[in-house]
Amino acid sequence: MTNRPQADVLRGSLDLLVLKTLSLVPMHGYGISHRIQQMSKGILEVNQGSLYPALQRLEKDGLIDSDWEMTENNRRARYYRLTAKGRRALGTELESWKRFATGLDAVLSTT
């Protein structure tokens, strides 16, 4: 059970992962899912069916912005980037996630 990829990223954590990924470099949807998988060393696998609605939601909320750009292979793709509001939201989300993880860890490590 431990090594199986986490196919369904925990609900609520996907937005955080997307924001974090985009804080490094602007990226297209496929790139984002690939990068999350890479960074989590294959532990987290983003469900494609959730990724695009999440991107749409974040864009509607003004946390990310998007535009058509050309890829290295000269292919047109929709690139997403973090907005200033998104950057602020990422900070807040990270803080609250860390608190949550610490709390969770404290509960689980209690013997």
Partner: protein, 903 residues
């Protein structure tokens, strides 16, 4: 700017439907291609396998699309937009219904918009001035007498220490003659006002200055500030007029400033004179009437200001209970016209209820038409239901169709309302009330537009949802029993009631039209007894001493001056080559005359008869070219007060004297239109002459009047008119009359000059307007009734196709079939006609009770008019039956085989 890009994305997602769809497609395609390439590259799969795996990992593409669409929040929007599109298609598919239903709804919305706008204008608390909503007016109301009290001068003098109102000021209307650059005196709408006005309504004067406090002090040099329009028209826009002394009313004043264009504070004024409020010796509820205004101090509210003013009034009331005990003070927004303490909110609610009720009645009929249409689409509705559409979805669709119709009607209604307000409403108010307050705005306000749109939605709910709910009731049962071509929906009693009511109104409305029309015709055919178009009626007033004067000798002196000036003007006019004659009268022919009761003294126990009276100058009959038929005319000695002689007209001879010669007879004349309590105390007058009838009956009178003329006693009245007979079109002598009036006495104020044949044109305009409105209403009611009958019959025939076919197959005669079809509409028409006739009868009875028609002693309609109405009712039955022709012909053409095959 992230909020901006977020908002932009939302809008793009919501409205850029095509762009959003193609974006989803392209992103999905790109994703699948990238994954396929990775699989080809890293796992060395065949292209087909790589594509299959990529798609499988991605999941259902269509499902993702739907999720994204839902994320756009447009799912409902797509459904609604489809319904609306269908609604527009329905407009062109059923043009008859579109025109009739749309017209009816537009009329309802038009009416609502006009009422809302007028209500908004009259109840608006917004002034187009800085802090306009904090400008207040102090008003007093006498709770015992139930009337407003404007004599506030004493109280105003006690307001000095008020803390919740600043820039306290006062004004009063003072219409005066101003002599312009051309030397002619013309009346101006002026206000005597304190200098605070120019702080409340600040504006940089175009030239010179506004008032300062020093202008109001006793002994200050008289000054005047001119309005822009008056300055342009009367002083040719000459900036050098500032500093010049001009004639204003009975005196002179120096022009100190000219206000910019559009400046009309306090109401609709065009000239300003200083108002002196520190008049010594003013008694409580004494002095001249004023209007008090001011601005709420910062932190103060209308309530706190009112409480403070009331405390002042209470304080005065302790010292002067006889005048102030029953006075209640109000501090209200400046635009509030009345101190009458009625609730504005209640009025607004009532206005809304009235408009909504009107729209409900109109849309009830449109609902009938839409019901008939929906019923004819019953099969379609059942099929949709069978395919899974919920009842709510179907009701939503029919509502959307009605909403489209209501939307189009709202646009038409609002556009015509704007037109009516600017073309008719404004002239009507100006005609009745003169210049209008500067804050009246006849352009439809956002509140009116929103209210009208809400009415449209309300109308759509009635016209769309009600029939939809009825048609979709028991859909499941009908679905099981459904059979092509036959429906099971039937018109209920409510619809029948609606049709009957409409026919009744259609029958009754023309009676009103006829009444108004016959009145207008009568007014137009008025017989003056002389060539009215050769005469000009000139109403003359005079500027007098300040209104605070209570000195009776000064007032008498003013009357004497008026009398001598108007006589001097008359003489000067008679000397003009273009003028054939000029005379003086208290009431112009065709206008209202004073009514009195007369009794013949020489005939024992003679009854009292109402007569119309006029006071005339001895030259009157000469100028009117109406020689005395018997007896003599007035001479100058008759005008001496105390001479008790009168002249009567032919109407008097016929109606009072029974055709006998009245000369030498004596009459008692009541002081008012009622018989005095002690008639024997009344002095008698001797009839000295008889003339023909010369327009002494009011233009509204339906029967002949008995006329009686008094000699005009000089110095007895200050409300006279000159009648000037021109040798040319009298309108061409208007400028000369003004010149002469100014030359004779610059304080003579020429208030109105009208050619005599147009004396009541303004009233005729109003009747004409009523006629047009009533005719349009009748037209719409007629159209609606006919459409209602037509649609109900069409539907009935369509529904009974099979039955008719079978009857014809079994040998039923055409007459029998027609009778069975006609029975119901015929009953409706007959009931409607009876209802309409009853409405007419009730109206006629009500008319009989009004003063105007009471003298007739019978119904308000003549016999020929009643005959006309009966003919119209018969015509109505005929026309309604005509509406049945097409469906009936259709029914008779039904072949038995077709009817059965339809099953």
């Amino acid at each position: 700017m992230s909020w901006f890009s977020g908002a932009r994305t939302r809008l793009q997602l919501l409205f850029g439907r095509r762009a959003a769809e193609s974006r989803i497609d392209e992103e999905v395609r790109f994703h699948l291609e990238m994954e396929t390439n990775r699989l080809l590259r890293e796992e060395h799969l065949s292209l087909d396998e790589a594509q299959r795996r990529a798609r499988a990992t991605f999941g259902g593409v269509q499902q993702h699309r739907e999720t994204l669409r839902d994320g756009r929040g447009t799912a409902w929007f797509n459904g609604m937009s489809l319904d609306l599109k269908l609604g527009f298609r329905m407009l062109s598919k059923y043009p008859g219904l579109t025109v009739v239903g749309g017209l009816a709804m537009a009329l309802g919305i038009w009416f609502g918009a006009v009422i809302f706008q007028m209500y908004g204008i009259l109840s608006s608390t917004k002034l187009p001035l800085p802090e306009g909503d904090r400008i207040a007016k102090v008003m007093y109301y006498d709770m015992k007498l139930q009337s407003e009290e404007h004599r506030l001068l004493y109280d105003y003098q006690q307001y000095r220490g008020l803390r919740s109102i600043v820039d306290l000021g006062a004004y009063r209307d003072a219409s005066v003659n101003i002599v312009g650059a051309d030397g002619n005196a013309q009346p101006a709408v002026a206000a005597e006002i304190t200098s605070a006005a120019f702080r409340i309504a600040p504006a940089r004067p175009l030239h010179g200055r506004a008032f300062v406090a020093a202008d109001e002090r006793p002994g200050a040099a008289p000054v005047v500030v001119l309005g822009y329009e008056l300055w342009r028209e009367r002083f040719a826009g000459d900036p050098l007029v500032v500093g010049r002394s001009i004639r204003v009313g009975a005196g002179f004043a120096t022009v100190v400033g000219v206000m910019p264009e559009g400046y009309a504070f306090p109401m609709a004024h065009e000239a300003w004179l200083p108002l002196r409020t520190d008049v010594p010796g003013v008694q409580p509820r004494g002095g001249f009437p004023i209007t008090v205004f001011g601005r709420l101090a910062p932190e103060a509210t209308f309530e706190s200001a009112q409480a403070e003013v009331r405390s002042v009034v209470r304080r005065i009331g302790i010292e002067h209970p006889e005048t102030h005990a029953q006075l209640q003070a109000y501090v209200a927004p400046y635009t509030q016209m009345s101190a009458n303490p009625s609730s504005g909110m209640a009025m607004a609610v009532l206005t809304w209820i009235f408009c909504a009720a009107l729209v409900a009645v109109v849309c009830g009929t449109v609902a009938l038409l839409l019901f008939a249409r929906a019923a004819s689409r019953e099969t379609e509705i059942i099929v949709r239901s069978a395919l899974g559409a919920s009842r709510g979805r179907i009701v939503g669709q029919l509502f959307a169709e009605a909403l489209v119709l209501a939307g189009v009607s709202a646009v038409v209604g609002l556009a015509t309302a704007q037109l009516a307000l600017s073309r008719l409403g404004k002239p009507y108010l100006e005609m009745n009330y003169g210049r209008l307050p500067f804050w009246y705005d006849f352009d439809l306000s956002p509140v009116t537009i929103v209210s009208a749109l809400m009415l449209a939605v309300f109308g759509a709910v009635i016209a769309g949802v009600l029939p939809a709910r009825k048609i979709t009731r028991g859909l499941g049962t009908r679905l099981r029993a459904a059979s092509a071509g036959g429906g099971s929906v039937s018109f209920g009693g409510v619809w029948t009631g609606v049709i009957v009511m409409q026919i009744a109104l259609t029958v009754a409305f023309p009676a009103v039209v006829m009444l108004v029309r016959s009145e207008i015709k009568r007014y137009e055919a008025y017989d003056y007894g002389f060539r009215a178009q050769d005469y000009l009626g000139v109403t003359v007033a005079i500027d007098g001493p300040p209104q605070e004067t209570t000195d009776s000798t000064m007032k008498a002196a003013q009357l004497a001056r008026y009398s001598s000036s108007i006589e001097a003007l008359r003489r000067r006019l008679e000397g003009e080559p273009e003028i054939a004659g000029a005379t003086i009268v208290d009431r112009l022919p065709r206008d209202y005359h004073i009514s009195r009761q007369v009794q013949l003294v020489s005939v024992p126990n003679a009854s009292w008869t109402r007569v119309s009276t006029a006071s005339i100058h001895p030259s009157y009959f000469d100028v009117l070219d109406a020689p005395v038929r018997s007896g003599r005319a007035f001479n100058s000695s008759d005008a001496a007060s105390g001479a008790r002689v009168v002249i009567v007209d032919q109407g008097f001879v016929d109606l009072v004297m029974g055709g006998r010669n009245p000369v030498g007879h004596r009459v008692r004349i009541s002081a008012t239109s009622q018989v005095d309590s002690n008639p024997s105390d009344l002095p008698w007058h001797e009839i000295v002459g008889v003339v023909k009838e010369l327009g002494i009956a009011s233009y509204q009178r339906r029967t002949r009047a008995a006329g009686l003329y008094f000699p005009l006693v000089p110095g007895s009245r200050d409300d006279l008119s000159l009648m000037v007979r021109g040798r040319i079109d009298p309108l061409n002598v208007v400028p000369r009359i003004r010149e002469l009036a100014t030359a004779v006495d610059p304080s003579l104020r020429i208030e109105q000059m009208t050619r005599l044949d147009r004396v009541v044109d303004d009233k005729l305009w109003f009747y004409g307007l009523w006629l047009r409105v009533t005719m349009s209403l009748t037209g719409v009611a007629l159209l609606l009734s006919l459409s209602g009958i037509y649609s109900v019959l069409s539907y009935t025939v369509a529904r009974r196709t099979r039955e008719i076919g079978v009857r014809v197959a079994l040998g039923a005669s055409a007459r029998l079939v027609i009778t069975s079809i006609f029975r119901r509409p015929l009953t409706q028409v007959v009931l409607g006609v009876i209802g309409g006739s009853m409405l007419i009868a009730l109206g006629a009875l009500a008319l009989q009770r009004t003063t105007e028609f009471s003298s007739l002693g019978r119904s308000g309609l003549t016999l020929s008019e009643i005959a006309g109405l009966i003919a119209y009712a018969i015509l109505m039955v005929g026309v309604c039956m005509l509406a049945c022709v097409v469906p009936t012909m259709r029914a008779l053409r039904v072949q038995p085989t077709e009817a059965l095959r339809a099953e």
